[in-house]
Structures are given as C-alpha cells and as structure tokens.
C-alpha cells in the first residue's frame, strides 16, 4: 500500500530516513527502511523481538552505521557523519546504562555535563527531574542499589536532562510493573507539549496506541505499514465485535448464525467461541433465540471495541499473542 501521508513541510520534518539497510553477516536486520518524523510528534516502531527496532535507533543516533541509505536529522546530514546531530538528541537505551558507582543525582549531573551544561544549571535540572520522577528520596543513593523501575526512570531522566529536541526511547516500559509503566507513559505523553519530538519503540500494542501519533509496523527488518493511529483504526471504525461462548458447539452455532444473518461476519475462534464482526449494531436477543431453537446453550456474550491489535494482526499476519507473549516473557525475566 502506498504511503498516503505527505511530509508535513510547514513545520519541517525532523528526521528523514531513506532506505536504511543493515546486515549483520547473513542476517538482514534492516531492509530498505524509510520513514520520517514531524516536529513534536510521537512516532512509534511497533514490532516483535528482532524486528530491527534497536538497530534503527543505533543507526539514527550514531552508535551504528547503515550499510546503505540516507539519514538527515534536523536538516543535518548524518549519513556520512553520524555524530552531526548528537547535540540535538537524547537517548534512553533498552537497558539502563548509567554508572552503578555514582548516585542518582551524580549520574544526572554527569550526563548533563556531557552536553556542556554548566554546574548550577546541571544541579538544578537534576533536582527537578528527580522530583518529577518521584526519585527525590533516592537521589543520594547509588544507582547500583536502585530497583528496576527506579533505574528505568532515572535512565529516562538522564535522556531528557539536556532538553533534547528529539528523544529516542527504546522500549521504555519493558520489564517494569504496571504502576511504574503507567507513570512513565504519563511523563512521556507530556513531553511533546514542551517541544520534544519522540521516536519510540515498543512491542506493547496498547502503549503504541496510547502514546503515538503515528506508528510503523516493523517485522523482520521491513516496515509493513506506516500511518497515523487514526488512519490505522479507520477500517475498524464503527465496527462492532462480539464474542459468544457456546460450550463445545462453536462449529454448529456459527453455521446456524451465518445462515440467518448474512450481513454479519462469523468467525470460529475455538470449539467454545465464535467472534462476530459487523458494520452495524449487534443485538444479542435474536442470536439467543435462534441458538435456543437449535438446542445450543449460550453461556456468555462479550462486546469488544476493535483496537489496533486487530489491525496489527491484519497487516502483519503476526498473531498479536506472539507480541504479548514475548513481552510477558521479558517481564517474567525482569
């Protein structure tokens, strides 16, 4: 499908990546990946493990070189000189990589100093950020003793201490508990108002949907679709979904229902469950009656709002469960 969205040139686009290709031996980590970021938007890379998300960030930030392709960041050509735009960017890597022997406060001050921020300003910013991230109490403790969630928060604070124009967030909420993840998402969602443009990678579909203005689905080093969340959701807009539980009789039930309601789309999910999709309101009463006539007992009916998950499954052909399982696994390890 051709890209329907044009570059928002009035505001100027901040990142323009054209046909980035990167191989590691036989593995093609990125295969002609192209995308752009407008100013102040949150752009997300959504994809499973090994899709090429981190590789893309590494190339954009100057930690890695593409085999081919072009990159410009804020109008600076970073293809030949990967360091050209480093003063404009902040990075939150997928693993917290601050200094274990330094305190939270000293870590922040040190990171700020790398960007040439003066002492008084550094201290002020560090204190502000510790406060903002709820780490005021822990500021004087060594980073090594922080919990996983605290480490993550401090790493994000370190990424924005120099007020970067562009922030790269590599899976900001992987491996931390729900409450902390929510807090982090809230903090991230407030950044664009302050003028920050965000490039975010994740394998949480809900996170992408909640935070991003536009999303690229990336699978096996290829972008399969890029669009605004709104546009992505367009095909399922106004759609109704209902799940019916019929103990052991899903096959028979879906045949019966499909005959009687040709406008609806019935899917066999499992021997116990049918999924109904329709463009109009779905009323339950006629189904109950019809199933009853055929001696099928309806145990449960659930309405569902179609989400990005349905789109993702549709576009990539990847079961959403795979994504979630992977993230659960990562959580489990954490």
């Amino acid at each position: 499908m051709p890209e329907m969205i044009s570059k928002d040139n009035n505001d100027g686009f901040l990142i323009d990546a054209v046909k980035l290709t990167k191989k590691f031996g036989d593995i093609t980590a990125l295969d002609e990946v192209s995308f752009f970021l407008n100013k102040r938007e949150v752009f997300g890379f959504l994809g499973p493990n090994g899709a090429g998300k981190t590789t893309t960030i590494n190339i954009l930030t100057g930690l890695s070189r593409a085999d081919s392709g072009r990159i410009s960041v804020a109008g600076l050509d970073c293809t030949k000189n990967p360091k050209a735009a480093q003063h404009l960017i902040g990075i939150v890597p997928d693993e917290s990589n601050l200094y274990p022997e330094l305190t939270g406060f000293d870590n922040l001050c040190f990171c700020a100093s790398l960007y040439g921020i003066r002492k008084e300003e550094r201290k002020k910013r560090a204190a502000e950020l510790l406060d903002l991230f709820g780490l005021k109490q822990a500021g004087g403790r060594k980073f090594a003793g922080y919990s996983k969630g605290m480490k993550r928060k401090l790493t994000i604070a370190a990424g924005i201490i120099h007020h970067p124009q562009i922030l790269f967030l590599d899976e900001p909420t992987t491996g931390i508990d729900v409450a902390s993840a929510r807090q982090i998402r809230q903090l991230i969602s407030e950044l664009p108002e302050k003028g920050t443009t965000i490039f975010l990678t994740t394998h949480y579909i809900e996170e992408a949907e909640r935070l991003c203005d536009r999303i690229a689905f990336i699978v096996n080093g290829k972008i399969v679709r890029t669009d605004t969340v709104e546009n992505l959701l367009q095909p399922v807009k106004g759609k109704q979904i209902m799940l019916l539980s019929v103990q052991g009789a899903a096959g028979k039930a879906s045949a019966v229902l499909a005959d009687a309601f040709p406008d609806f789309n019935f899917q066999y999910v499992s021997t116990d469950q049918i999924r109904i999709e329709a463009g109009t309101d779905i009323h339950l009463a006629p189904f109950v009656r019809l199933l009853d006539e055929h001696g099928i007992e309806l145990n449960e009916a659930k309405r569902q709002v179609p989400t990005l998950e349905d789109i993702f499954v549709n576009v990539t052909g990847i079961e959403a469960k795979i994504l979630r399982k992977e993230s659960d696994k990562k959580r489990g390890q954490a």
Binding site: T61, G62, L63, S64, R65, P82, K83, Q86, H87, I89, I91, P93, E95, N97, L98, Y99, P100, E101, L102, F110, C111, S113, L114, Y115, G116, I117, R118
Partner: protein
Amino acid sequence: MKKKWIAFWNILLKDMRSYYLKPPNISWGIIFPIAWIGMFFIKTGRGVEDVFDLLPGVISISVLFGTTSMLAVTVTFEKKARSFERLLLAPVSLNFLMFAKTTGAIFFGAVNAAIPVIFSLFLVDLSNVSWGIIVPAVVLIAIASAFLGLFVAVTVSEVFEAQTFSNFLRFPMVFLCGLFFPIASLPFFLRPLSYVFPLTYGVDILRGAVSGKNIMPLGLDFLIIICFCLILFYASIKNINKKWIT
C-alpha cells in the same frame, strides 16, 4: 567550544573519583616503585650510589604499569557495562572523547613517577639532575603508555583480555627497553626488538637527564616517542570506529 571542555573536565573528574583516587590504586602507586627499588638493592647488594642507575628504570616502570592497567578499567570495563555508549553518544568528537578518557591515566602515570623521585631525594643528592628534561620526558612516557593501554583496551572486549594483552607487552618491555640492563648487554638477536617499544626512548631520555648516559641524541628520542604517541592514538581511534561503531 566551551561546552566540550565542560564535558572533558567532568569525564576526567568522574574517572578520577571512580577509579584513580580509590585507595587500592593509591597504595599500588606507592608500593610498586618501592618494591622495585628494594628488589634491586637486595639483588645486587650495592649501595645508594646506584640510585642514579636505577631511577630512570623505576620511574618508567611506575608510569608504564600505572597507566596501562587503568585503561582496561576506564575503557574496556565501561564498554562492557555499556556505560561507554553514553560517551559515544555525547556531542564531542571521538578524538576529544578519547583524549578526555586518557588524560586521567596520563596524569595518574605522571604522579606515579613522582613517587620514586621523592623516595630518592632521601637517599641521594639529585641537584645535578636536569628536571627540565625529566618532566617532559615523564609526561611523554605517560602519554605513550596511556595510548598503548588505550590501544590494548579497544582491541579486546573483556577486561581480563586487556590485562593479559598488556602483560604480554609490558613484561618484555621491562627487559628489552633498557630499564635495568643496558640494551647493549642483550643477546644481539633481541636488540632490534628493543627499538620497537616507545619506552626504550623514554628511558634513554631519563638516563641522559639523570646521569648523562644516554645512547641516542635526546632530540631524536623525543621525536620518536612523539611519533609513537600519534601512531598509537590514531590506531586506537581507528579501532573504535571499526569495532565499536558497527
């Protein structure tokens, strides 16, 4: 321009606090030269007049071991722990960054050199020594050693590999560079090897400054050791570019 010096100073300061000023390093810097001096006196059974012969070697060895071992930590270890990525992402050039990372080691090496000198002050009269030559020579030896350490640190990926690799270079240097035995006393087939190590030239300068017994013109010594510094530094930068920015 000012900004990058803020980064420079803070990288240096952090390394100082985290590594160089730690008690084990400080005591090492004191014990190491004393051990060498003591060992030679016991071995040769001679008097304090030999301090003049020993001093250049002990200064060099203190600087060499002090600097090279530090880079394995400040560079290889931080690379392994991934905090080095923060530095690679900082808006300063790679050259400047490595300059900042090695300055601490250079400084540490130079301070290490002062310890045997101070120690000798109590034993002999050093008033005839040309300090105007010793000081730049010590700094150059420290720079060459730090860059040698840097080269090792960026060639390997594990800290223990860095230690092994530097020992592989350091111990032969103790014997081949004329620190304690004149190069002329080496078997003839080993002699050419002496001249591939920068330390040979550094020791020669120190020997000239302490007792006037240098074997080459000092100007040439200085020139060669500066060349070594440049080659080692650029080889290291090239290695980082090739291996770490993949």
